[in-house]
Amino acid sequence: GAGVSQSPSNKVTEKGKDVELRCDPISGHTALYWYRQSLGQGLEFLIYFQGNSAPDKSGLPSDRFSAERTGGSVSTLTIQRTQQEDSAVYLCASSRYGTSKGPDTQYFGPGTRLTVL
């Protein structure tokens, strides 16, 4: 079946602009995760969604970052007033059950490369 998809593949924006990154998880997967991959910080957890539960936002680096998941499926990560340090690859992953049935394997999308000029 189809894997996790993300759009756009690449995004170039100017400092101060807002950007939206989209993630379509694998059909039927109840858990969705966002990670950020940068040269300086490596791979960092940003946010976790599980079904209708309140998301775990503990990894979001500032209040300029927000995410939502509509209808338990598609997710959008929004970065407001982008800064140059936001430049990174943003990876989305999904898993079938998340924590609801014990730790689960996460399947990743191809990522969105964000460049802030």
Binding site: Q50, S53, G59, V89, T99, P103, Y107
Partner: protein, 116 residues
């Protein structure tokens, strides 16, 4: 806090030979999960292998196997009969489950090059 350390930033191996990538981690938990992911230049993170800490038997997936030493908190990946397509970044990851949430904590990665 859980941490994952990959001490080899880069490695290279000849095609058809065997290579081992190192990973150590730090945790006070007794039950947990460990993963190796591969990231080729396409950026797609691909699951290579997974190990449950409560299982004493080392996980194996075709040419990929792990040496899981729980007491030493070591989780190395062995790639046998290396192929050119194995060239990629390899990330070791530890799954943290807490308060109804879960996340992967990754090491810094090892860049593996398979030479013809």
């Amino acid at each position: 806090a859980q941490t994952v350390t990959q001490s080899q930033p880069e490695m290279s191996v000849q095609e058809a030979e065997t290579v081992t990538l190192s990973c150590t981690y730090d945790t006070s938990e007794n039950n947990y999960y460990l993963f190796w992911y591969k990231q080729p230049p396409s950026r797609q993170m691909i699951l290579v292998i997974r190990q449950e800490a409560y299982k004493q038997q080392n996980a194996t997936e075709n040419r990929f196997s792990v040496n899981f030493q729980k007491a030493a908190k070591s989780f190395s990946l062995k790639i046998s009969d290396s192929q050119l397509g194995d060239t990629a970044m390899y990330f070791c990851a530890f799954m943290v489950t807490q308060g109804g949430s879960e996340k992967l904590v990754f090491g810094k990665g090892t860049k593996l090059t398979v030479n013809p």
